[in-house]
């Protein structure tokens, strides 16, 4: 650095010549614009804004100027340096952004490559639909009850008005247990849960009972010895067949869509009277396939109705066996096969798919059927 100059040189130093300053700025701006990456820009910064750059030299010359000239010269040099540093900063941002873009571009992947690294679980549709049905009834104030699969005969038969010599007792093809006088069977239906519930709680009773049941059928496309039912039971003052029909219609609409209704056909079950078979209006064709060969329906075989289950008013004798006074209370009950419901709901054509435990079958249903 120069020593203080007491003897002012009347000549303006070349570095401070406005034309030179302007030229230095132009050269700097041009170099900045030409820098194509951050490394190049760094060199430009050294050359044009560094300690040895023309503008730095010009700045140092200011000290040698007479005091009267210092202000103007300082202002000129400051403006020049400001322009250069501003341009540097702007260019730096540009180049940084470009660099980021380049990196991001270079990191592109093929997003269509499938990642199936982690296992994905699924639930068996028999259980999800059982929960689905239970939830529907919970929403109208029913409780959910489950029970043991090996059941006392009294619960499975006698209390349900199926006495020892009743044809229904063999009709149901029961799995009996050794010894012969065990008094226990694999439950042939979920109806013993009606008995358990009524022995356990006083009316009003509103429950839905899903569960696994057993009959001695060989496994084939439409039968399985181990299957599932869902049972509903309501016992209260003043319940009628209108309540039964209304509840079934509501159930049908909840499961199969607004407007789908049920049809009752008189039938016989020992534990209900009057008894009825429940048919479900075909949810696929809504009956439009009946007598319409151009629009056949696979779901209902163009019958318009699908057999769904059984129902009826709880037989007063059953109420009495549970200590419920049939003069004061009436009740209704209904039961549906879960496998059957799934089969027509999802178009499953072979029962074996439901029982064989093939992962491909379950997986197709995901976490909810």
């Amino acid at each position: 650095m120069s020593a203080p100059n007491k003897n002012f040189d009347p000549v303006t130093p070349a570095a401070l010549d406005p034309a030179n300053l302007s030229a230095a700025v132009d050269q700097a701006l041009s170099a900045i614009a030409e820098a194509t990456d951050l490394a190049g820009l760094k060199q430009v910064r050294i050359d044009h804004a560094g300690d040895r750059s023309p503008l730095a030299l010009a700045n140092r010359e200011i000290g040698a100027l007479p005091p009267s000239a210092k202000a103007a010269a300082g202002k000129a040099v400051g403006a020049a340096r400001g322009r250069v540093s501003g341009a540097l900063k702007a260019r730096e941002s540009e180049l940084e952004e470009a660099e980021r873009q380049r990196i991001l571009t270079s990191e592109r992947v093929d997003v269509t490559m499938v990642n199936d690294r982690e296992p994905v679980g699924a639930r068996h549709p028999i259980h999800t639909i059982s929960e689905h049905i239970a939830d529907a009834f919970v929403s109208i104030g029913y409780g959910v009850v489950e029970g043991p699969e090996l059941e006392s005969e009294w619960f499975n038969f006698d209390a349900l008005n199926i006495d020892r010599d009743h044809p229904a007792r063999t009709m149901q093809d029961t799995f009996f247990v050794t010894a012969a006088d065990s008094g226990a069977v694999l439950r042939t239906h979920t109806s013993p849960l009606q008995i358990r519930t009524m022995l356990d709680q006083s009316p009003p009773v509103y429950v839905v009972c899903p569960g696994r049941v057993y009959r001695t059928d060989e496994l084939d496309a439409t039968h399985t010895p181990v299957f599932h039912q869902v049972e509903g039971l309501a016992v209260d003052r003043g319940l009628t067949m209108v309540d039964l029909k209304s509840t079934l219609d509501w159930f049908a609409a909840t499961m199969f869509g607004e407007g789908i209704v049920t049809r009752l056909r008189p039938s016989y079950f020992p534990f209900t009277e009057p008894s009825a078979e429940v048919d479900l209006q075909c949810f696929a064709c809504r009956g439009e396939s009946v007598g319409n060969p151009d629009r056949p329906c696979r779901t209902c075989s163009s019958e318009g109705w699908i057999e769904w289950g059984g129902c009826g008013m709880v037989n007063p004798r059953v109420l009495q066996s549970c200590g419920v006074d049939p003069e004061e209370f009436t009740g209704f009950a209904f039961g549906m096969g879960i496998e059957r419901t799934l089969m027509f709901r999802h178009g499953i054509t072979d029962m074996r798919d439901l029982v064989e435990g093939d992962v491909r079958f379950t997986t197709a249903f995901g976490m909810d059927s």
Binding site: P148, D181, M241, D243
Partner: protein, 812 residues
């Protein structure tokens, strides 16, 4: 029960236009389960007329006999060529005229053949789909020339197949079905039984000693049967239509009357009976060979028909071989009785023998039918076999059936719609009841009607279930799923959320499976409920563990090409099984509480278990790199994760337990209570099921988790102060349990030690032989301040002291 429409029409005045399908629809509407309708007429269309053969010209110039016949078909006479020779001039025949289409789409047209124009065809049974006869044409026994031949041939008919429910025994007869048909159409019913003429009871009688089992027993002697007489065409046709095989005239008559009236009849060959008929209990060791050629040892609870030499029939079920009527029988004793429904059902069940008779008695036969049916059969024997009707023994011990008290408003109250009293009255009368005030006497053919509710059902079904309106559902009074219900659902669902696929398997197992999973001979899981009638004799037991079924399912999936599997299943298992002896109480009133509790307690424990099996990779290999095999630790981890759903941190200890690898099996427990086991399967088990090496499994008792599970989790204190991290590597004996050490560190670390996590295990040259190094990551944090170096050092010293007490040394 198969019922031809034409037969039903004989007793029910159905409108002419009613088809089999129409009737089926109506019968379904009032409660008969019509399974199918077989339309016999649908197979033949166009002109099929009754013709009379006027002239037969034998054409002899051909290799086989050919006839050119002039056939009167009413409005004209047609020349028809025919290759059959089993008819003569004057016979009535079935003539298919040009335009007719026979079964198989065979169109009849006038065509030239054998030198003549054949203007139609004379039909054989086979050509019309009636039977398999094709040697000759059908020669008709009756018919009017020029009229449609279908009615004569039964080809205008439809056969309804009805599954008769246990409460409708009377519908195991044409009489009963016709009664329902008349009810459904609200038309007149003429009871065939009312048309049977009364017969004399005089003449030789066969003595009867009725000791037990029937409240009505009749025996009619019939003699002089022409054993060469054959069953008439209508009888054969109807038996065939009803699915019964014609046998001989005598047998056909008993079957025909049974179909017509619903009364089972049995004809004994009188010459083979010795002494009076006895109706009695079997004596000890008594045997009977029934008509199905089975020698049966009689049960003391059976009832038999016997003569002096012993049992000759199983009452109400089946006759015996020794007194069977045959081609040469001319004298018979005809039994028509009313046996108790429960009695016959019991015999039928004990002997696994269901017959036309037992099916009817079980469901209840008209208690006033025996004599009428016997007379009807006797009438047919006389008419068709030239027999002489002998005397009748009629023992009647029936008790009066009490009337039912039915308030006439009850049906409306149960159905929920207004049913006026006079409508109730009218319906009851139409089904055959006598009504006086609110006192209803049920008809003899309805033993099922014993209580007011039975009559309510009758009224409801005739009013029609389709008249019941629908409104909103009956709303319950519950408050949603209970906390336990919800937790149970979460437990059942959790493995699927963790990546497992749920399956279901049958709960039947056999010795082979118990051997395959390596259960020791004394393992309590070998003791289970044994089925008396298993589907498969190899699998008579109910499962005590889910694993045999789940491993079989895994094997099936592997067999179908699955490389890696993550399966789970939940369901009931049967535990602590001892001899089951549940009391059977009476029905009709609530049993005493002590009996209810005995019935409940007699059942074995049936806890819900959850099992999982892992085969092959847990995470797959792929473009991202290598996969990771599932191993014993995954099985334990998944078991712990399921338990964590219930807020339970399972304790893990090494254990030996089949079917797991003895060195890779963990016992999982909560507060000392066993929850289950998890780990790698024993290599022998893996081999037995053909699963990938190192397959792992777990089985948990969900009922323990449900009982121990907390449903309200306490909130943790979450400190916002900085964490301090310290790692310690400890050298311990090879068999030291990592969890024991971790717990010691955690306990002694005090409140400032937020967590301790095992992050590395090393054994090798850098630690002494027989030792391993366990590296733990400690996270320290205070609830109320930033930790100082002194705090950290103090925790470190204290955990190292704890480690030292367990023989661990800080690794240098």
């Amino acid at each position: 029960m198969r019922a031809p429409l034409s037969w039903i029409r004989e007793y029910a005045a159905l409108p002419d236009h009613v088809t089999g399908r129409d009737l089926a629809e109506k019968l379904i509407g009032i409660g008969l389960e019509v399974e199918s309708v077989e339309d016999l007429g649908g197979s033949v269309s166009g002109p099929l007329l009754v013709g009379r053969v006027l002239e037969v010209e034998e054409l002899t110039e051909f290799k086989k006999p050919i006839r050119y016949c002039q056939v009167d078909v009413g409005d004209q006479t047609r020349g028809i060529i025919c290759g059959a020779t089993n008819f003569a001039q004057g016979d009535l025949v079935a003539a298919a005229l040009p335009g007719a289409v026979l079964p198989g789409g065979f169109e009849i047209s006038a065509r030239k053949t054998y030198g003549h124009v054949s203007d139609g065809m004379l039909c054989s049974g086979r050509e019309l789909g009636i039977n398999d006869e094709y040697d000759g044409i059908l020669v008709l026994a009756e018919g009017t020339v020029g009229e449609d031949a279908r009615p004569v041939l039964g080809l205008d008919d439809a056969v309804l197949d009805i599954a008769v429910t246990p409460d409708r025994g009377y519908c195991l007869s044409i009489r009963g079905i016709a009664r329902e048909a008349a009810l459904a159409y609200d038309v007149a019913f003429s009871d065939p039984v009312a048309q049977v003429p009364g017969l004399t009871s005089d003449g030789p009688q066969h003595p009867v000693d009725l000791q037990y089992g029937a409240d009505r027993f009749t025996a009619r002697t019939i003699s002089g049967i022409d054993s060469t007489a054959t069953s008439p065409a209508y009888m054969v046709r109807r038996l065939n239509q009803c699915g019964m095989r014609p046998v001989s005239l005598a047998v056909d008559i008993t079957n025909y009357v049974m179909l017509e009236t619903g009364q089972p009849l049995h004809a004994f060959d009188a010459d083979k009976l010795q002494g009076p008929i006895q109706v009695r209990r079997p004596v000890a060791g008594e045997m009977l060979e029934t008509l199905d050629h089975l020698k049966r040892e009689l049960d003391p609870d059976d009832v038999v028909i016997a003569d002096d030499r012993g049992a000759v029939a199983l009452a109400g079920v089946m006759g015996g071989l020794t007194t069977e009527i045959d081609e040469s029988s001319t004298e018979v004793v005809l039994e028509a009785a009313h046996f108790g429904a429960a009695q016959v059902a019991g015999t039928s069940r004990r002997h696994k023998l269901s017959s036309e008779a037992s099916r009817r008695f079980e469901r209840g036969v008209d208690r006033d039918l025996a004599v009428a049916a016997s007379n009807r059969a006797a009438e047919l024997f006389a008419e068709l076999a030239g027999a002489t009707v002998g005397g009748l023994v009629d023992i009647d011990r029936r008790e009066a059936v009490p009337a039912i008290c039915l308030p006439l408003e009850l049906p409306g109250r149960i159905v929920g719609v207004e049913i006026p009293g006079d409508q109730v009255l009218s319906i009851l009368q139409r089904i055959g009841c006598a009504v006086s005030g609110d006192s209803v006497t049920v008809p003899n053919w309805r033993p099922d009607l014993t209580a007011p509710i039975d009559l309510v059902e009758e009224v409801a079904r005739v009013v029609g279930y389709d008249t019941i309106p629908s409104r909103g559902p009956a709303m319950g009074t519950g408050a949603g799923l209970s906390a336990t219900d919800r937790l149970q659902r979460q437990l059942r669902r959790r493995p699927a959320e963790l990546g497992l696929v749920e399956v279901l398997s049958y709960p039947f197992v056999g010795e082979a499976e118990l051997d395959a999973i390596g259960l020791p001979a004394t393992d309590p899981r070998r003791v289970s409920v044994r089925l008396a009638n298993p589907l498969n004799d190899e699998q008579p037991f109910m499962r005590t563990s889910l694993l045999p079924g789940l491993l079989s399912t895994a094997r099936r999936n592997v067999g179908r090409g699955a490389d890696s599997l993550h399966l789970y299943e939940y369901g009931q298992v049967f535990r602590d099984v001892s001899t089951i002896s549940a009391p059977v109480a009476d029905a009709g009133s609530r049993p005493p509480q002590v009996v209810i509790e005995e019935m409940l307690a007699a059942l074995p424990r049936q806890p819900e278990h959850l099992a999982l099996v892992l085969c092959g990779d847990w995470s797959r290999s792929g473009w991202w790199g290598a996969g990771r095999p599932a191993d014993w630790s995954d099985a334990i981890r998944l078991g712990q994760e399921v338990a964590r759903t219930a807020g339970i941190r399972l304790e893990v200890q090494a254990d030996h337990h089949a079917p797991w690898h003895p060195g890779r099996c963990a016992r999982l427990s909560v507060d000392g209570r066993l929850v289950g086991h998890a780990g790698e399967l024993h290599p022998d088990v893996i081999a037995a099921y053909g699963l990938p090496a190192r397959s792992a499994a777990a089985e948990l008792d969900l009922s323990v988790l449900l009982a121990a599970g907390q449903t309200v989790a306490p909130a943790p204190d979450v400190s916002a102060f900085p964490v301090a991290k310290e790692d310690v590597a400890l050298v311990v004996d090879e068999d030291m349990s990592a969890e024991t050490l971790r717990q010691a560190l955690q306990e002694r670390g005090g409140d400032l030690l937020e967590s301790v996590r095992l992050f590395d295990v090393y054994s090798g040259p850098q630690v002494p032989t027989g030792k391993k190094s366990l590296a733990f990551a400690l996270r320290l944090r205070a609830a109320d301040r930033t930790l100082t170096d002194t705090d950290i050092e103090s925790v470190r010293e204290s955990v190292l002291a704890a480690a030292g007490e367990l023989g661990a040394q800080l690794r240098g």
